[in-house]
Amino acid sequence: MTRQQAANRFRTRKLSTKQQLAVVRESQIDNIDDTDAQRNIPEIETGVERQEEVELHLQAAIHASQAAVTSGKAAAVYIPTPNAEKIKDTQFDALYPKKFSMPSSYIRFSSTVEDCCGCPYSMSAEDQKFLQQYNSGKRPTSARCSEDTFEQVMSHFETVVQQKQPFLSIDTSAILPYEDFESAFDESTSNLVKMHAKAIYPYWKEQRLKNEGRPIMPSLRVRSLSPFSSCVSVANSDWSQFEQGTEKDDGDPYVCFRRREVRQVRKTRRTDAQSTEKLARLRTDMEYAKRALEMVLRREKMRKAAIEMDQKVFEMRAQMKEMQRKLGIRGDWEDLVNIKQKKRPAEQPAPSIQRPPAGLRIDPKATEIELVPFELYQAQKRQKLQNIVEEKVAQRRKLHGGFLNGSPKPDYTPAKPRGYESGVIVHLPSPPPSVSSQESLVEHDPDNNFDDFALALAPYTYGQTVQKKNHMWFRKRIGRGGRILLDRKTLRRQPLPTDINPYRLDRMKHHYSSDEEDDDEDMIDPSSDQNIRFRARLLSPPVEATHHSHQIHRTVAEQHRRQLQSAAQVAAGNQAVTAGVGQMAAPQPKQALQVPKALAPPVPATH
């Protein structure tokens, strides 16, 4: 018990910040334990520098407040400070006009000082004197230089020289000549500045040199150049280059606001690198956009200038006209009108040498030269065929040696053109051998002469399917007066008209070919129901169109085929006539049906 009391008495517990402490009034406790109270509380420094802590006034103030706390004596002791007094400046209202109106909401603001202060150069008393002198000689007030313009000019000089000669203060001998400033004018430079800059330049130069090449407006020394003691101002100078080796300015109290040492950059994370890249790209894009806009601006300005010039010219002309009228001068009308000089057409490359690539527009002249007239082409073709036929005939004559051929393959003389020629005229070579009515029952060897000939003539090899015996053939032909005649096979052929509607033709071919499958081997009775129906259909308008589309693409081939077939038919007709034996079992008299031209049915093509 006593021991514990002693411990309590002599070893106070440490003061913990988590310990619950009773808040009491002084009257509630007696002061017996007081001397021990402070013992185990760590002494806490005031936070004032030790050397200053001993300062007289501070000590006095501390003592005074201590006294106030302990004994209740209130003594207001102040630390003396130098004076601060209100000025009695009558200019004050001019300096700080009462023109601020308080917004009702909290202010949000992000413009910088530079944004808010206009032209960074402010003129001194000396500048004003110079300006007065400069303006005094100028009569028209418009030629005078305003204070604002003057400041802009000076500001221009200062900015440009800072950019181009940041270290002018080291060597002032090579200060920029005026021309360099003039070339630095850009779009934003006002005309007034351009007007006065040259005259102000000598004054600026003098001022700058007087300042030993340093900016005329005093500027902060942010760093010094290491080998020299002179300092360079902040504005627009490129830092990084001089960041190193600035040890020497450490001692210069006027050098301030150094850049902090760059913090250790983390080993580049990918995202960091990416975002840098993105930002860089964004920046270049923005710069492109900016440049483009600048170009647009320039273009528009030029356009405007051109328009203004035009207007001027016009006005001058109007004036001139007026004068001419007044003075009775008969001027040349050419003076009054813009004579547009026609541009000489650019020389075209010779078409024969350079063929434009497919897909490009072809010079019509060039193709005109290239193209062979249709008639000529036809004649050539005809000639070619003629040649072949004649050759064959000659060959055969030679073969026969002057004897008449009595064999089933008679001699052949090429058909003479008919009385009228329309459409394609094809001279066919020897027809297939005439077949007797008996023979007609026998299947023919497909490799007969005719087929040979057909092959020799035709560009395509559809010859095998060209001729099928026992088929009924119908032909349409156009007679005199535009009549359309439908012929049966045995009749003498007329040259085919060229204007056959390929669609119809295809359609009919389709129907026909499907029929053909069925009664391929049968004898065809022209008077049978089927045939009659077929013929009737030939003359009727098309009923269904569903099969058209997929056959359109064949039409070109069909046309060729048609030509060939018609030729074959002509030959066959001829043969039939000469042999006196029709292909049909029972030769029919000519059936010519008259149909109106508009409904002209196509020739059913065969396969």
Binding site: L21, V23, G47, E52, L58, S65, G251, R266
Partner: protein, 507 residues
């Protein structure tokens, strides 16, 4: 020793200007009569050897104080100087001298006075009838080698010296102080060094407080601006501030109250005012009540303005350093309003991210608004922000004398207010959380107020009668004069967040 002829005296006082010669001679003659030979002998000997009795204590003539370059150097001399403010002679050290048209002026620092009371005095304020203390020799006489040694040393000192000041920001003071700790040059001078300008002391300062004035650099020991005009007021600056050196020669430095730009030439200033269309600190207003507004300004976004603010505040803060730029700080500016705009009253800066948990880096009420309760309001606001952040905060050290007093007053007021509300028991942590003060500051306050008592084997917090009485008195005064208080509901503020990229790349 036989009295000297006038030629000899003239040779001793070689640098006297002709106009002042006669007066000086008369003055000197009296001195010689009193002191007879030895002094003059000493002086002559000093002149011949090249050092005017350095490190010694003795009487001095005005002639010896005429030059500011060795051998006969007046800089560093300690002597009695008449201080007009306290109306008495006080010990002072000459920090600089200047020859002006009106005669030679000396810049003196009074011992045990704050540097802000340093001043320029004329020759007649110096008391040469008492003994003076010559500055210690920079180095034992081994001229060429040692002097270069000394120089190097002082450079390295300077380079360290300028940094550890309290700037808005401060990394690695401690490691710096270790670098400086180079014992070799100090060893041989140790014995002869008097107290005034010692390397040892500086190192000691570095060790203990991590902070040191720029005193090592002679230029910055001397106030460089004579007067400031800002808004409606004209101020005397207290300390050196690195405004462009060209401006130090102008009698008044004009400072635009809104953008804080500085102009030596009145015409320039007038022209600037015509162009400047700023009416408030260039940032977001985060607090507004009947009396004041607060603006938050980012040092990175408003570099120029914040630099200007720092230059201005350096005039009144000794421990502020402008060595580094303002980027990592936010500035909270308190303004009063009228129809001319928002007038800056005071501000505090705050690190965007403080490793040491400081909620204030530098804090200043402009002199024209001091002693009117604004300082306390500023401090209160800084703690209000800490409350919003949910953090405990403390001002960065070192505090100035005025700073200490202000903070102590605020702490006392706050703690006592909380305790008066509090019924029953309370822990220090709870007090800290309620006030957003660090526990250290709470204990410190309780301690200086003598409120921690030991009663019946336990610590208790005792609201003493004296404290209660003081509180009553304060209330009475506030009732009459009106109290400046903050209304937390007027604070429209969210703690700013800085992204990783900001921190890494210092964007």
């Amino acid at each position: 020793m036989t009295p000297l002829g006038i030629e000899e005296i003239q040779s001793i006082l070689g640098l006297l200007d002709v106009r002042r010669l006669e007066m000086s001679l008369v003055f000197d003659d009296e001195l010689f009569e009193v002191q007879e030979g030895p002094l003059v002998g000493n002086l002559l000997a000093d002149l011949h050897t090249g050092s005017p009795g350095m490190g010694r204590v003795g009487l001095c003539t005005v002639g010896a104080l005429r030059t500011d370059t060795p051998p006969a150097c007046s800089i560093g001399v300690k002597l009695q100087v008449f201080h007009a403010g306290s109306n008495e002679y006080r010990e002072a050290e000459i920090l600089s001298m200047q020859t002006r048209p009106t005669g030679v002026h000396y810049y003196v620092h009074y011992t045990d006075f704050n540097k802000r009371l340093d001043e320029w005095v004329t020759l007649d304020k110096l008391d040469l009838t008492k003994e003076v203390e010559w500055p210690k020799p920079p180095e034992p006489p081994a001229p060429p080698v040692s002097s270069s040694h000394r120089k190097k040393d002082s450079i390295s000192k300077n380079s360290k010296a300028s940094r550890p000041q309290k700037h808005d920001g401060d990394d690695g003071h401690k490691s710096d102080s270790m670098d400086v700790d180079d014992p070799t040059p100090t060893d041989d001078t140790k014995l002869q060094e008097p107290a005034n300008f010692s390397k040892e002391k500086e190192i000691e300062k570095l060790r203990t407080s991590g902070s040191m004035t720029q005193s090592a650099h002679e230029i910055s020991r001397v106030r460089n601006l004579s007067r400031l005009q800002i808004g409606l007021y004209e101020l005397e600056p207290w300390y050196f501030s690195p405004y462009p050196p060209e401006l130090t020669s102008s009698p008044i430095l004009h400072i635009c109250e809104f953008c804080l730009s500085y102009f030596g030439c009145p015409t320039r200033f007038l022209r600037h005012r015509q162009k400047c269309d700023l009416f408030h600190p260039p940032g977001n207003e985060i607090y507004r009540d009947q009396a004041v507004s607060f603006f938050e300004i980012d040092g990175r976004r408003q570099r120029t303005w914040c630099r200007n603010l720092c230059l201005l505040s350096k005039c009144f803060l000794d421990h502020k350093t402008l060595y580094y730029d303002v980027d990592p700080f936010l500035f909270y500016c308190m303004c009063v309003r009228d129809d001319r705009g928002f007038h800056l009253v005071g501000y505090f800066s705050k690190e965007k991210e403080s490793a040491d948990g400081y909620n204030v880096a530098c804090i200043l009420t402009l002199p024209q608004y001091q002693r009117t309760g604004y300082g306390k309001l500023l401090i209160a606001f800084s703690y209000e922000l800490s409350k919003r952040e949910g953090k405990l905060g403390s001002p960065e050290k070192p505090l100035s004398d005025l700073g200490l007093l202000s903070y102590r007053a605020y702490w006392q007021d706050t703690i006592v207010d909380i305790l008066l509300e509090q019924k029953g028991e309370v822990t220090i942590d709870e007090l800290a959380n309620m006030s957003a003060m660090t526990t250290n500051d709470v204990i410190h306050t309780l301690q200086t107020l003598g409120m921690i008592r030991y009663y019946k084997g336990q610590h208790v917090i005792c609201l003493t009668d004296a404290i209660l009485a003081q509180k009553e008195k304060l209330k009475e005064r506030q009732r009459i004069k009106g109290k400046r208080v903050l209304d937390p509901s007027c604070l429209q503020w969210k703690p700013p967040v800085f992204t990783a990229a900001t921190r890494t790349w210092n964007w």
